[in-house]
Symmetry: C2
Subunit: 341 residues, 2 copies
């Protein structure tokens, strides 16, 4: 291990004090321009690199923002992360990223690691099975800003970045009904997560508004994976009376379900109309193209990170507030059965 240059080495060489070197290296106003140049040049020449561990300790701040997400490898989440990284990096913070792998246990242990690492703020999208947020209480107690995005949790101290899932789902469902669907299956995930319960509620609301009965046989709850879509198709095919519409809470599952039904001779959208959620890249590649709800992960990441950064840079002035991002219904062939739309 090569010996690292410190500000003391620079100070010695220049016969000045370490304090002056420290000041010269930042843009402290009270340093002579000449000595400043001397210092910067010497630092450059000697290959000095500032030791963040030391300055972090001294300043009692880590310069790190933490992120905990269920999984990194989904199209949506990688967009979110990209957006977060951009904002955080531009603001000269660093990013600690970890994935809960959809379990509350891992989420809690990640949170603890983040806490010990003194992250200055934490961005979280919750795991499937997270029932309470006791594991985030230490952050709230310490007033370390905690922002939820997408898979949010209701808590007075924590702003949320999300879309209006209720409204979006109601729109999708209404659209299917407009297309003549009378018996619409809804496939979704753990209703503990508000993103899913809201979508479910929006769906039910639309049915109700059109005097369509909802009953439990129309609801399929799984993990919205690709495999789950295949299984759901199996369930649908076994139904005593086939549905004429399916609204799935994500595109991944919607597509595999739709393709499986196609293989079994079901015509999309004539026999069964389909709609998904997320506007995944695959949605406009699959045939027929999938009707879905579009909302940009990148923008959600940006919004969450911007909120955090603004807050950190101006702690006591800026009040953090929740943000509802725009989403839009994108109608494609998978649900188009008449010309009225």
């Amino acid at each position: 291990m090569m010996k690292e240059i410190t500000i003391y080495d620079i100070a010695d060489k220049l016969k000045i004090s370490a304090a002056t070197v420290s000041r010269g290296l930042k843009d402290h106003p009270l340093v002579n321009h000449k000595t400043k140049k001397l210092i910067v040049d010497a630092a450059e020449e000697m290959g000095y690199r500032s030791n963040y561990m030391a300055s972090n300790l001294r300043n009692q701040k880590s310069n790190v923002i933490g992120v905990i997400v269920p999984r990194l490898n989904s199209s949506f989440m990688s967009d979110v992360i990209a957006g977060i990284e951009k904002v955080v990096n531009d603001a000269n913070y660093n990013l600690f990223i970890s994935q809960s792998l959809e379990t509350m246990k891992k989420e809690a242990s990640n949170a603890k690691a983040m806490l010990n690492n003194r992250v200055e703020g934490l961005l979280v999208s919750l795991a499937y099975d997270t029932a309470d947020i006791a594991h985030f209480e230490p952050f709230i107690k310490r007033k370390i800003p905690l922002v939820f995005f997408d898979r949010v949790f209701e808590h007075a101290a924590c702003p949320q970045i999300y879309i209006d899932n209720y409204k979006a789902a109601r729109e999708v469902t209404t659209h299917l009904i407009d297309q003549g669907c009378k018996r619409i299956v809804h496939i979704t995930a753990n209703l503990l997560r508000s993103v899913y319960s809201e979508r479910f509620n929006g769906y039910k609301k639309a049915l109700e508004e059109h005097q369509l009965e909802f009953d439990d046989s129309l609801l399929i709850v799984n993990d919205l994976s690709s495999q789950a879509g295949v299984a759901a198709a199996g369930q649908i095919l076994k139904m005593p009376v086939l549905p004429d519409g399916v609204f799935v809470a994500n595109d991944l599952c919607a597509i595999s379900c739709m393709q499986t039904l196609k293989k079994h001779g079901i015509n999309i959208p004539q026999d069964i109309a389909f709609a998904g959620f997320n506007n995944d890249p695959t949605a406009c590649v699959v045939e027929p193209n999938l009707t879905t709800i579009n909302y940009k992960g990148y923008e959600m990441g940006e919004a969450a990170a911007k909120l955090m950064v603004a807050h950190l840079n101006n702690y006591d002035v800026k009040q953090m507030h929740s943000v509802v991002l725009r989403s839009e219904l994108i109608i494609r062939e998978s649900s188009l059965r008449n010309k009225s739309s």
Copy 2:
């Protein structure tokens, strides 16, 4: 800001020294079991959390591994990152992630930030236009392990995790030739990156082995984006004599190109057979399904991170070595023109 508990607070409360508390909190052998329990209990009760900034400074290690990638939001890269995160997290390291956004300039500035943050190792996949790795020299000089993956760079001190792009491209091209293609266009990106030049070389080799002429009019170089695929389709349609096969260096671009050609009345694969690279999720959704090269990003991330972690945990014993991961040709309808395959 609430006052944080330190080992001194615990020491005071227990009327023992901070040194003993420090030892008790880890599994130092020379502490009485009883006092250890006392210490751990008191820490728990008082809400102590270890200050990593202080211990990092003292120990002269950051416990952080850095990652620099071109972009986070691609299906492949998010798989890689997921794999890296898993391994790094399990090994109790933290992950700093940043994206170069495909420019060498940003890559260099990210590298500098990583250096100042004292990352203990750096995992890198290079930007499109990175011509040399001078910006990584400080790592090499300091013997901070530097591992390249996917978009690698040849350097004696830096192991590489990659696939055999030459072989894979030769396989794809040979397959297209076997299907009767005689005039195969190759669409790729900056040949500065070995992943692309190797694929190009493999392609040329296959042509040569089958006595097919290569000439520059068969090569289209762009950024392999979706839009570039549309543009490439335009170029192809304008060619004096249409090709009967297209091999694209990624699936994203392959698919948009293929779909654009379809819209212009070209039959796939009868008129033009198609092959991509990466086995993106969209490849088996598009119609016709896209022939491609499959290799798992998740495994590449795991492999790179495992190499790094093993090295860090056993610095002077383990020699780092490059790893060539397996890849395989996946034949789908987009290239199937006869029954011989």
